[in-house]
Structures are given as structure tokens and as C-alpha cells.
Amino acid sequence: MSTSANDITPVNAQIAAGMPNEFLTFTLGAEEYGVDILKVQEIRGYDTVTRIPDAPDFIKGVINLRGTIVPVVDMRLKFKLGKAEYNEFTVMIILNIARRVVGMVVDGVSDVMQLTAEQIRPAPEFGGVVNTRFITGLGALDKRMLILVDIEKLMSGPDMALMDAASQSLQ
């Protein structure tokens, strides 16, 4: 777990600055990513998905989430990370972004971590699967490296094809 759980003051400063300090981490291929925990609604297993016509292959379809229809994106397909298998261990992170609900299939969910401002480094130009535009920083944790993603920006981008052009311009 986090090495700096007792280090309260910088965390408070971060909260004051409006920066996320708690992250849900997940793996995509060999890389470890972190998203702001406040954007995460829940984590659930992979359900039967209803396919949608006219959608890119990484949009698996829609599921019924307690009465609302929620689209599901497979990040492994989106970032072309080898085979995307669906079994009882496949997990889906349900995100709450821009007043919408989106499901995201990833390789695995690992942890919830707290990061202090010192632990977050600026993102260099590098060749991760996620476009650098969406990376807010890199989190250093002992020997691990977390790639921090602005999931809201990523999901509402036009190449995700999750929203109508009209609602994109509203964002």
C-alpha cells in the first residue's frame, strides 16, 4: 500500500488545490494506470453485453446497470493489447464522467492508492498506449510506476465515439 498514508499535510494541500490524491489503479498489458477514485462508481464483473450496430470494435455494447443503459468500452481493444478474453475474472470499472455512466473493461484492478504531490511527477513525452494528452502525471511508488490518466478527458474525446458531437461541444 501507500508509503505515505501518514503524511497528511501535502495531501490536504492537494485537496485544496483540487487535485486528486486517491487513485484506483488497474493494469492494461504490462502497464499500470491510475484514475481519480472519485470518478469511479463501482467495479463489477463482465456481464452479457448487447451489441450496438455502427460502433467501433472497442465499444462492446451496452449493459443494464440497475435500469439504466450503460455503454461498455474494452480498453484492451481500444489500445490493441493482444487478446481480449472474457471470463469470470474479467472486470469492468463503472465510471461516472461528465454526468454520464460508462463501463470500462481492463485487464485487472489492483489497488486504491494515495499519492502525495511529491510522488506525482510531470509526464514526459513517452510511448505508452494512452495518448500523452490524457496523461496528467506519473506516480512513483517504490519500484512501481503509475500512469495517471485524466479519464474524463479520455472518455469524452471524439475518438471514443461515446457521445454525439453535440454533447461533446457542450462539455
Binding site: 451489441r51 435500469g67 443503459i69 454525439d164
Partner: protein, 671 residues
């Protein structure tokens, strides 16, 4: 401060529009011959609340205009002005102006100043000239105690505040000072005889007053002083007898004595009115539609969970699990009842629509010089709020049409041996899962010949051999209008096709029938709600799709020789001398899996806007009602899909937008 008030603006406008409705309806049911004091009171109260609210929220234009209407109403209420038809008409128009002003205030737009000024001027004129036949002065309300006196002498006022007057922040002293500003005032306070000052609650108002106001003061001016406490006191304003000097009324006992008696009668009416009002307020509460929608969603979930439990329990041993199974049975019943009850909260009675027609018919009949009686049947039939909102305009149009084209003038009717007064009937009823709305008139009926001639002239495809029903349907063709001359009532030719389009968009149908010389009938059939769709579920591969049942014509298993390829673009299937494009839903939705030959599949023929397409599917699953859910809430619009629903097993199923599929596939075939 203004920010604080802005929060209440929405409520104010909602309430004001409701008050206007109340006012209009009450005005329409006023019978000049037999005046019901309670009805006039209702109208007055409605106008008064609008004025009060408008003044509070700073909508000065609304408040000052409403004031004039209120003054006229007050004269009627007090009996100073006998009821005249002209006054009622004027008040109706004043109501329209108030609505315009309110709309303008709400939207921050400009009101039609000219119209408002016109009506206001007329109101002022009416107020100045006492209506003919009115007694010289104001006949007092009840038992004729007071003598008729010309206004200008002064007023005798009895003011008895309710005990809880202070709680509303009103101070009688301030009111009395305001009255004293108007002229020479003599106030005589009265204490209840049984009051013991030591025990008296200081926050209760024990006093009442007899006031004598001398001088040439308008009744309105006096009334205005009490405007804020009108609902919280017993108030009686009577003119002072002519020539009565101050000294003559000096003895408070003798002067005040007859007053309570005189006051008792009107007071009783007031109290009765007040007793009924809170009951109405308590009977309904204002709830946002999004809250109800959330409730409907949750109940939908509950139904699915319950269905899942029942399915799981089906395999259990009924002897060992008797209690569990009977509990599940109970859950099943309760869930269903809960669902019905929740769906019912979105339902409104048809009255909400029908109530606007008396006014419309009355105005139109006057304009066209026709005598019309409007009959409404089945106002209590309930319909989903969203459907009600969307059916109002089409109905409006149909009633206008009936009045303008259907009904004859009085002479023509008498000549034909009919009652000179025509009848338009609006009827609503439930039939199965649908609501049927009929617009009937006993006019001249539809003229088959005229319709055919007109259609030919307009270049609409038709023929003499067509059935009556088909001929009547021509009326719904775009650009069709049979009115000999264009009037501002109807006949611009944009009407009926829009009516039909709106009704079809609601998932409904419209039929016309007619008997020459006896009248015409328009029959509209609508689904009860827009939230639920009658659907046919069809299976393709592992997916289930819903086709709106209203667009399904038939289904069949095509024979090999019925299916013909067309170039390399696609296939057509021949059904009874018609070649229909065959659309494989597997291709349309890009589903994996091997294609089947048409003869091994099933073709469902669907129709939209008069064009048919055959959809190739794997199997017919069944017919069911589905709850429509939005795809766009979290995703985006999808071509060929109008929405989604959740099946009994919790899976999502897409609802096909038949109109789009037909349009796109016939376009593709044409290209």
C-alpha cells in the same frame, strides 16, 4: 434579495397559470341568469393571487393590469354590478392578456403592448360607466340592511381580524393608519366580552373594529388597504347612508349592532369557501417528473429481480419450500400492483385537454356566426402526461376543422331540418391497452366527390374506385385543404397532415368516417403511455430485438422462388405481387455468424410512411410490452435504433427504429 426571489419565480408562474385556468373555467360556467356567488369568489381569488404574487415578485405590468380586472370582479362580487355577458367576455379577454403578460415576464420577452392597452382601456371604461340596469348605488350583500347610497359619502367598515393575524406579520394599526390617510376616520374597537386581559395571549389578536370613513373615497382605495389581510379577516365595507352626519353614527352600539348581522351572511360563504380550499391543497403535491421517472425505473428493476427470483424458484420442491413459494407469490402480486400504482402517477385525466375547448369553441363560434354546443364525455379517462401534452395541438386542429368545415350555419341547419345549434362531441375512453379519442360533429359530413376532385387537382394519387375510408384518408395528404376560402380559423392546408404526423409519432392511428348530411367522426387511437411500447421480439443469433408492433404488417417464411437478387445490391422478396427489399438484420447490425438463406429464415414485413420492407430474422420470440429506455442518456444516437429496453432476464434489447430502417434501405435500393 432578487436572487432569493428568483428561486420562487417558477412556482409563481406555475401557480399563476393554474389560477388563470381556474379563472377561465369559472368564467365559462358563470350563468348570468343564476349567479353563483361562490363561482365569482373563485374567479376573484384567482385574480387576486395573481396580482399579489406579481406585485411581490416585481412583475409590475402583470400586477397593475390584473388590478383592473380584479376591480371589476370585486364589483361583481359585492353585487354592485349585475353580471353582464359583455363583462364576462371582457374578463375572458383580460385573462388572455394576463397570460400574455405572464409569459412575457417569464421569458423576459416583450408582451403585445397594444392588445394589453386596448383591453385595459376597455376595463377602465367599463369600470367608470356603471352597467345598465344597475341600481344607483351598491345593493349590499345579504339582507338589505344598508340603504343605497351614492359613493362619495363615505364608508362603514367592519374589520374583524382572525386571532392569528399577527402570525402572518400584519399589524392592524398600520392598516388603520392607511385607512385614516384616505379621509376622516373614526375607529371604534370592540373587545370580546369574555376576554380577561390577564389571561390574554399577547400574540393573539382579540380586537375587532368598526370604522367610519368619511369623504369621497373610492371603494377600491378602501379595499386596497386591506389587500394583505383579506384572507385573514372578516371584512365588510358598506357605503354610509347619504347625509348621515358623523354625530348620527356616534353611538357605536346602535351603529355597530346591525353590522354583525349583516356581516354574518357573506362571512359564512367565505368560511365555507376557505374550508374547501385547504382540502384541495392537501389532496395533491407538486412532484418533479424526474423524481417519478426515477421511481418508475426502480420499480422496473424490482419487477426484473422478482421475475428472476420466480424463475429460480420454479425448480424448487413445492412441498419443502411451501413458505418461500407463497412468499414469492405475494411478492409477485405486490410488485405488479406497485408498478401499476407508480405508472398511474404519470397519468392525468383527459380533462386537462378537454377543459380548454369550451373557450375555443365559444370564441370560434362567435367569429363564424355559428351556434355550437360542445359536449365532452369521459373527461376522467387517464392518459400519460407526455401523451397529453402532445395530443393537445392535433385535437385543437380537429375541433377547429369540425367547427369551420363540418358544421353548417344556423339557417342552413334549420333548412335541412336539423337543430339550429350544432353539436361537437369530444369523447375519450379506454379500449384495451389504448385510449380512444373521438371528435364527432353533426354537420354536413365529408363530401367524397369534393375530396376526390381536390386530390386530383393537387396531383395526389387517387381513383374513383377507392373505398370511402381510403378517400377520407386523402385529407391527411400533405397540402390538402378543401376549404373554399382560406380563413384564419382553419384551411391553410397545413393542418391535417400535421395532425396525422403528430398522432403517428405518438404511436397512434387516426381514422375518419362520415355520413353525408349527418356528420363526421374522427377516431384517434393512442397508446396509454410513451414509456411503454407494444413490441414484437425477434431473435437474430444470440441477440433479441424489439420491433414496434404497430409497424409490423405480417411475417412469413419466404420460399426460395419468392426471393430474387437485384444486381449485386441486395435481394427483394415477392409478397403477393409486391417486390419488397429484403434487409438482413444480421448485416444491418453487423452480427457475427453465418448468413442463412432467406428460405431458412423468417421475413417480417414492416411498414412506415406507406413503404414496406421485409426484415430477415432467425426466429420470432414473442410479443410483449416493453419499457422504453434511452440510449442517448449515456451513449449516443444509433442509426436505426430508437431506444432500448430491458428484457425479463435483465439483458438489454435494442428497439428498432422502423422508420429509419425503411428509409435507409429503400434509399439504398433506389440508389
Amino acid at each position: 434579495m432578487s436572487l432569493d426571489l428568483a428561486r420562487f419565480h417558477k412556482t409563481f408562474f406555475e401557480e399563476s397559470f393554474e389560477n388563470l385556468e381556474t379563472m377561465e373555467q369559472a368564467l365559462l360556467c358563470l350563468d348570468i341568469a343564476a349567479v353563483d356567488a361562490e363561482v365569482i369568489n373563485t374567479i376573484f381569488r384567482a385574480a387576486h393571487s395573481i396580482k399579489g404574487g406579481a406585485a411581490t415578485f416585481g412583475f409590475a405590468a402583470v400586477a397593475s393590469f390584473t388590478h383592473h380586472a380584479e376591480t371589476l370582479l370585486d364589483q361583481m362580487r359585492s353585487g354592485a354590478r349585475p353580471l353582464a355577458q359583455a363583462d364576462i367576455d371582457l374578463l375572458l379577454r383580460a385573462g388572455d392578456c394576463m397570460r400574455n403578460l405572464l409569459v412575457a415576464a417569464r421569458d423576459g420577452a416583450e408582451a403585445d403592448v397594444r392588445q394589453v392597452a386596448e383591453v385595459q382601456a376597455e376595463l377602465e371604461r367599463t369600470l367608470l360607466t356603471p352597467s345598465p340596469g344597475a341600481p344607483a348605488g351598491a345593493p349590499p350583500a345579504a339582507d338589505g340592511v344598508a340603504v343605497a347610497a351614492p359613493a362619495g359619502n363615505g364608508w362603514r367598515i367592519r374589520f374583524a381580524p382572525h386571532p392569528d393575524l399577527f402570525a402572518s406579520g400584519n399589524d392592524p394599526v398600520r392598516i388603520l393608519r392607511a385607512v385614516a390617510d384616505l379621509g376622516a376616520l373614526r375607529a371604534t374597537p370592540e373587545l370580546p366580552a369574555d376576554l380577561r386581559l390577564l389571561d390574554a395571549d399577547p400574540e393573539t389578536c382579540h380586537l375587532s373594529w368598526s370604522l367610519h370613513l368619511q369623504g369621497a373615497v373610492e371603494r377600491d382605495a378602501v379595499q386596497d388597504c386591506f389587500a394583505w389581510v383579506e384572507d385573514e379577516c372578516e371584512l365588510l365595507i358598506q357605503p354610509l347612508p347619504a347625509g348621515m352626519p358623523m354625530a348620527a353614527v356616534a353611538d357605536p352600539v346602535s351603529a355597530a349592532q346591525p353590522l354583525p348581522a349583516a356581516a354574518s351572511n357573506p362571512t359564512r360563504v367565505e368560511v365555507a369557501a376557505r374550508a374547501t380550499r385547504p382540502a384541495n391543497d392537501g389532496a395533491s403535491i407538486r412532484v418533479g417528473t424526474e423524481k417519478i421517472d426515477a421511481l418508475i425505473n426502480l420499480v422496473g428493476e424490482l419487477v426484473i429481480t422478482q421475475a428472476m427470483l420466480t424463475q429460480q424458484a420454479a425448480g424448487l420442491d413445492p412441498v419443502q419450500n411451501e413458505k418461500l413459494l407463497s412468499g414469492l407469490g405475494q411478492l409477485d402480486r405486490n410488485t405488479r400492483m406497485l408498478q401499476e400504482a407508480v405508472m398511474a402517477t404519470r397519468m392525468l385525466p383527459m380533462e386537462a385537454v378537454f377543459s380548454r375547448f369550451p373557450r375555443l369553441v365559444r370564441d370560434l363560434a362567435a367569429k363564424l356566426g355559428k351556434q355550437v354546443r360542445l359536449v365532452t364525455v369521459g373527461e376522467q379517462t387517464e392518459l400519460d402526461k407526455s401523451v397529453i401534452e402532445k395530443i393537445t395541438d392535433p385535437l385543437n386542429h380537429l375541433v377547429r376543422n369540425s367547427l369551420d368545415h363540418g358544421l353548417e350555419g344556423p339557417e342552413e341547419r334549420s333548412g335541412a331540418g336539423k337543430d339550429a345549434t350544432g353539436t361537437i362531441t369530444l369523447k375519450a375512453s379506454h379500449q384495451g391497452g389504448h385510449i380512444v379519442i373521438e371528435v364527432l360533429d353533426d354537420g354536413r359530413g365529408l363530401d367524397r366527390r369534393k375530396i376526390l376532385d381536390k386530390a386530383q387537382e393537387k396531383g395526389i394519387a387517387c381513383g374513383d374506385s377507392m373505398s370511402d375510408a381510403d378517400v377520407y384518408q386523402l385529407i391527411f395528404a400533405p397540402g390538402f385543404s378543401t376549404a373554399a376560402q382560406v380563413t384564419d380559423v382553419s384551411g391553410r392546408g397545413v393542418g391535417m397532415d400535421v395532425v396525422k404526423k403528430n398522432i403517428v409519432a405518438l404511436g397512434g392511428t387516426v381514422e375518419l368516417s362520415s355520413t353525408a348530411g349527418r356528420g363526421a367522426q374522427v377516431l384517434i387511437r393512442l397508446p396509454l403511455t410513451l414509456a411503454i411500447l407494444d413490441g414484437m421480439s425477434v431473435g437474430v443469433e444470440d441477440q433479441t430485438f424489439i420491433l414496434p408492433l404497430s409497424s409490423v404488417v405480417e411475417s412469413l417464411q419466404p420460399l426460395a422462388e419468392q426471393v430474387k437478387p437485384v444486381a449485386d445490391a441486395g435481394k427483394v422478396v415477392r409478397v403477393r405481387n409486391e417486390y419488397l427489399p429484403l434487409v438482413d438484420l444480421r448485416d444491418w447490425f453487423g452480427l457475427p455468424g453465418a448468413r442463412r438463406l432467406p428460405q431458412q429464415a423468417i421475413a417480417v414485413i414492416v411498414e412506415s410512411e406507406g413503404r414496406k420492407v421485409a426484415l430477415q430474422i432467425d426466429e420470432l420470440v414473442g410479443q410483449q410490452q416493453v419499457v422504453i429506455k434511452s440510449l442517448e442518456a449515456n451513449y449516443r444516437r444509433v442509426r436505426g435504433v430508437s431506444g432500448a429496453t430491458i428484457l425479463g432476464d435483465g439483458r438489454v434489447s435494442l428497439i428498432l427504429d422502423v422508420a429509419a430502417v425503411v428509409r435507409l434501405s429503400t434509399q439504398a435500393a433506389a440508389a
